[in-house]
């Protein structure tokens, strides 16, 4: 208290003198920039090769261990995904603790432990340090790799993949990797349903045994611990860890395309296009251009005031956000400029992207832009130093990438030294509007034509494989829609057989967050009933009979427009293709497209109402593998579709065991039962 009074008393005395000195009319100048003191970690190396970095910081009574393995990227091939799973499997139980016991023990001390394919992270209060070390060692050295946990993890991964399978951003990310880095580079690989199915404990154990080795390990210990204590602790606990022969790998350096072209992934349900202008760059970490490249990217697409954001969002309102990245990497870096835009402005947006790339490549940047970018980077560099983890990562990077000892100490000085000429030179070297993959994931029918002005438009499927959408030559001579139907009837079990079917009942189910959704359909060529239930509850119902078409949601009838009613009537047919002639539909064989990586004939079907649907028939099996329709919704047109696969003969008729219904998102349903020529109760369709 006494101190407080004294202080304000002193202030009162000279306050009036000081006031006159401030000029409020302009912003005060900064005082001289402070020298940044990054701090030196203590380092030592165990006999087994483990390199340890200790950053002592007693601000908080907390300690964090982070272990990183420095290995060359691993090419996973047809089992893509196993490397990442190997990292996750470490947390699924040890030889001493089940997964549940492990979770409980970690929670009890309020700690956190995470594992991944290239290391682990563990943190707790200092006073729980010994227990944390015990748990960490158990996880790291005694993983149990239980079979049932792998199955659970695969199941989770598969449902994640199923959910993201049709997500345009996920598609863009996968295809981008393949276009930029190619098949033969690990950066170009991504996990698929097939690759995940193939993963076994063998790969996972082999990966763990090969790469979880001290001689490629960097361990950062940060926090409330002295280097002496840390050394003792690590020696005691990690000295027995055996080193191993860790293989190295070399990959050919990916190169940008000779010529800019458009890689289109045709996604017919899209109302927005995902645009990535992208190519590989050779920009090694710590290389001489890295800081200049960061400045360059900051100006082009690095923040809210960047050129791309100002142009595509503020000026043109094409998108909520447009940005770019120019990333340094030990093996191969990349440039990507990206945005999601409405279908109708896709080509205009690409045009602005290319114009901005061209402009910065030719003209460089202005002094004001350069100053603002430097200030922003310097500020964010300084703020990052608040975390002691940053200090550790600087030290580890310096060792891993053979950077000069003072690389980070001189970072701001080197940033300040970047000139307009440097940025211009970097723009010419790294911004390559003439050698770019312009990847667009969107609705081809609406956007493809206008994209031709940017270069050849090539079509790619979701797996990043190129195909020819207009390859009419692949349509066998003389093939017509009707012949495709005839083949289909044969494949189903023969026209006679299917013509004898008078009624059918199918039940498909899917599980969703622990609940089972049931889709039941009954049809007899005159009537149709569909019910979607959850447990005992009927969530929605559609009825079509001679007199009427009705739809119900949770027991309440919902009004249907006449057009929808008329379209629903065609659902009464068990095999609608048998009845096309009577229904007055027109059909046209339009080409070949891929459905789940297999070629399929596409037949366009126009109903009397004018509604157009497309049916896809596998070129080999002849079976119908997909139907799609574009509908008018409250937010414009949406495309819904169903995919059929895994056919099985039931009573001599091929029935798909899997049915994916896509309505905004995929519902993966599986066949429970299919019955033909059943007894139908009188009131079934009322």
């Amino acid at each position: 208290m006494i101190k407080k009074i004294y202080i304000s008393f002193v202030f009162a005395l000279f306050a009036s003198v000081a006031i006159a000195q401030v000029d409020r009319t302009t912003a005060p100048e900064p005082s001289p920039a402070k020298e940044i003191n990054i701090g030196e970690p203590t380092t030592f190396t165990l006999k087994n090769g483990l390199k340890v970095f200790v950053v002592e910081n007693h601000k908080l009574p907390r300690v964090a261990f982070s272990l990183t393995f420095d290995r060359d990227p691993v090419l996973e091939g047809d089992k893509a995904g196993y490397v990442s799973m190997a990292g996750q499997m470490l947390m699924k139980g040890t030889k001493n603790r089940t997964k549940a016991e492990l979770d409980e023990d970690i929670d009890f001390i309020g700690a956190n432990i995470n594992t991944f394919s290239t290391g682990m992270y563990a943190t707790s209060l200092t006073k729980h340090q010994d227990k944390l070390m015990e748990l960490m060692k158990d996880v790291l050295f005694n993983p149990a790799f239980p079979e049932d946990e792998l199955e659970k993890l695969k199941k989770q991964t598969l449902s994640g993949l199923a959910a993201s399978k049709d997500d345009p951003n996920a598609i863009a990310s996968n295809v981008r990797g393949k276009l930029v880095y190619g098949d033969e580079h690990p950066y170009g690989e991504f996990e698929t349903e097939e690759s995940v199915e193939k993963i076994t404990l063998d790969e996972i154990k082999a990966y763990y045994n090969t790469y979880f080795r001290p001689n490629i390990g960097y361990l950062a210990i940060v926090g409330d611990i002295t280097p002496k204590e840390a050394k003792k602790l690590i020696k005691k606990n990690f000295s027995d860890w055996e080193k191993g022969d860790v293989p190295t790998a070399e990959y050919e350096m990916p190169t940008p395309p000779e010529e800019t072209y458009v890689a289109l992934v045709d996604r017919e349900a899209s109302v927005q296009s995902v645009i990535n202008v992208t190519y590989p760059v050779n920009l090694p970490i710590g290389g001489e251009d890295v800081i200049t490249a960061r400045v360059l990217n900051q100006i082009l697409g690095g923040g809210f005031s960047s050129r791309l954001m100002q142009n595509l969002r503020e000026k043109n309102a094409f998108t909520y956000g447009a940005r770019s990245s120019l990333s340094a990497d030990e093996y191969v870096g990349s440039f990507t400029a990206s945005a999601s835009v409405r279908n109708e402005v896709t080509d205009s947006a690409v045009n602005e992207f290319m114009a901005e790339l061209m402009k910065i490549n030719k003209e460089g940047v202005t002094q004001d832009e350069l100053d603002a970018a430097k200030a922003s980077i310097a500020g964010s560099f300084a703020r990052s130093l608040e975390s002691p983890q940053t200090v550790a990562s600087f030290a580890i990077n310096t060792a891993r990438y053979n950077l000069p000892e003072d690389y980070y100490a001189n970072y701001l000085k080197n940033l300040e030294a970047v000139t307009l000429e440097d940025v211009k030179a970097a723009a010419q070297k790294y911004i390559l509007p003439n050698n770019a993959n312009i990847l667009v994931v969107g609705k081809g029918a609406e956007i493809a034509e206008n994209l031709e002005k940017f270069g050849e438009v090539k079509y790619f499927n979701k797996k990043g494989n190129e195909y020819d959408p207009n390859d009419k030559t692949a349509l066998p001579e003389g093939l017509t829609a009707n012949k495709v139907f005839e083949n289909y009837f044969k494949a189903l079990g023969g026209k006679d057989k299917i013509s004898s079917i008078e009624s059918m009942k199918t039940v498909y189910t899917m599980s969703m967050q622990g609940q089972t959704l049931t889709f039941t359909e009954i049809k007899d060529n005159d009537n149709f009933k569909q019910e979607v239930g959850m447990g005992p509850m009927v969530m929605s119902k559609v009825l079509v009979n001679d007199d009427e078409v009705k739809a119900f949601q949770q027991g309440q009838e919902v009004p249907l427009p006449d057009e929808a009613k008329s379209n629903l009537k065609s659902n009464t047919f068990i095999f609608p293709e048998l009845h096309y002639a009577d229904m007055g539909v027109t059909t046209e064989l339009t080409g070949i497209e891929t459905v789940n990586d297999k070629d399929a004939y596409v037949v366009s079907v126009t109903l009397p109402s004018g509604q157009v649907t497309k049916s896809y028939f596998d070129t080999e099996s002849g079976l119908k593998v997909k139907t799609s329709a574009t509908q008018k919704g409250p937010q414009g047109e949406v495309t819904v579709y169903e995919e059929y696969s895994d056919f099985e003969a039931i009573d001599g008729i091929m029935v798909p065991k899997k049915n994916v219904k896509f309505q905004g998102r995929p519902l993966n349903t599986e066949l429970q039962s299919a019955e033909f020529n059943i007894d139908i109760k009188e009131d079934t369709f009322n």
């Binding site: 202030f11 009890f108 209060l125 980077i377 447990g535």
Partner: protein, 442 residues
């Protein structure tokens, strides 16, 4: 401007995290002659500085016919000042390599900048301009009305469950100004005249209602001089600052209602009246929420999400505030699950803590978790500056930053059982069922 959003005490809770440092953090505090309180924390390890001002004005200080004013000012006061052109406030900060933001709660309004430490003076200039002579003009008011309208749309109307707090508050409080939330009413803002905005500014944006909290790479004496230079000349406001002394009458029976909203999954929310922050019982209630939903091994999570699979998510959140606040329980059922069943299961968990003392082992676990949360919560300068200001504004004791953990550690197992029985009763709660709009006509 979008980035500035209202935060309720939900977020404030995080700001309270801190305390169990082995080493106490040091700070200097004093009052300027004009009544402004200043708190300085020196830490020269990183060349950054946080300059912040907390005004002890929130939505509870508003005229019931002019709700939304406090939050509106959080926007309006970026419009410029006598010496800062319109739209330039943010630019000074970005060009200096800094970042900034502001937020408003029921109880206070907070502005801060994180700057390179050689730009301390810039931060002081900006904040003193804001307090001394901000531009309260028609053009700024018009602009910000539009921005706030957009914010309301994004954060409340179009945000799934965004209306939970307003809907709960207006049912839980009949008298106390917590019955409205900081976003307030657009009609009130539209109806307000420029004079009313000027009046609000002159009443609440005065040095005696402001706490300047600075943390980071500073030299105390140099900072003091600059603070005196920039804030010293600002005259005291001198008006009486309205502080509501309304005591919300005790709730006598359960309030239950259904809200139809733009959501896919329904939700159940229970809100129990709880004592004001800083009381012994409020600490016990916070410990209770760690037992109920602090992590995957917590009671409600383990039972309702893992074992019974009735819920996708459950949470117990003490919404504590300067005046008596609310203890919220939130449940999101699994798809197709029944809300009543979920609520019954939540009630069953409450019954358990009301009937049986928690075990010694569990008690130790939640103490460990609480301690860990506290210590991990405040490692950055931004958090330290805000927490020091909070402790001063709410308790008149910034040093609680170092001491508040003791209050949590004083809570016993018996306290936890007692507060569960005392506050988590049917008569003392509001229960809302949130249902998708599509179910409205059934």
């Amino acid at each position: 401007m979008m980035k500035r959003l209202i935060i309720g005490s939900l977020c404030l809770l995080m700001a309270f995290g801190s305390i169990a440092q082995k080493k106490e953090i040091e700070f200097t505090e004093f009052d300027l002659d004009n009544g402004m309180h200043v708190i300085l924390h020196q830490d020269n390890s990183t060349p950054i500085v946080v300059v912040s001002v907390m005004y002890h004005v929130g939505s509870k200080n508003e005229n019931p016919d002019r709700t939304g004013f406090a939050h509106f000012f959080e926007h309006l006061l970026f419009e410029g000042s006598k010496n800062i052109e319109r739209g330039q406030f943010d630019k000074y900060i970005t060009n200096a390599g800094g970042v900034n933001n502001a937020n408003t709660s029921n109880d206070r309004t907070y502005y801060y900048e994180i700057l390179p430490s050689n730009q301390l003076e810039l931060g002081l200039w900006l904040e003193s301009e804001r307090l001394m002579h901000a531009k309260i003009q028609e053009i700024g008011v018009e602009t910000q009305r539009e921005v706030v309208k957009e914010e309301k749309r994004q954060r409340y109307d179009n945000q799934p469950y965004g209306t939970i707090l307003p809907e709960i508050m207006k049912r839980a409080y009949t008298e106390h100004p917590y019955r409205w939330t900081p976003i307030g009413s657009l009609e009130h803002l539209n109806a307000a005249s420029l004079d009313e905005f000027v009046e609000f500014y002159e009443t609440f944006y005065v040095p005696e209602n402001a706490t300047l909290s600075i943390a980071g790479d500073i030299e105390i004496e140099e900072a003091k001089k600059l603070i005196e230079d920039y804030f010293g000349p600002i005259p005291r406001g001198g008006k009486e600052i309205p502080r509501p002394d309304i005591v919300e009458p005790e709730q006598k029976e359960e309030v239950r209602d259904t809200i139809y909203d733009n959501i896919q999954l329904p939700a159940v929310i229970q809100a129990y009246h709880m004592p004001a922050q800083g009381t012994e019982d409020s600490y016990a209630l916070e410990m209770l929420s760690t037992a109920l939903s602090g992590g995957q091994s917590a009671r409600m999570y383990k039972s309702l999400v893992d074992e019974q699979q009735k819920a996708l998510q459950v949470a117990a959140i003490p919404f504590s505030s300067e005046d008596p606040g609310l203890y919220l329980l939130f449940g999101l059922p699994t798809i197709g699950g029944d809300l009543k069943e979920l609520e019954d299961a939540m009630d069953a968990e409450i019954k358990k803590v009301q009937k049986e003392l928690i075990s010694d082992k569990e008690f130790e676990k939640i103490r460990n978790q609480k301690e860990n949360d506290f210590i991990s919560g405040n490692s950055r300068m931004a958090g330290i500056a805000e927490s020091l200001a909070n402790y001063h504004v709410y308790y008149g004791d910034a040093n609680l930053f170092n001491k508040e953990i003791d209050r949590y550690m004083k809570v016993t197992k018996e306290d936890i059982k007692r507060v569960a029985n005392e506050y988590l009763t049917e008569d003392n709660r509001v229960v809302l069922y949130y249902l998708p709009k599509s179910q409205q006509n059934q």
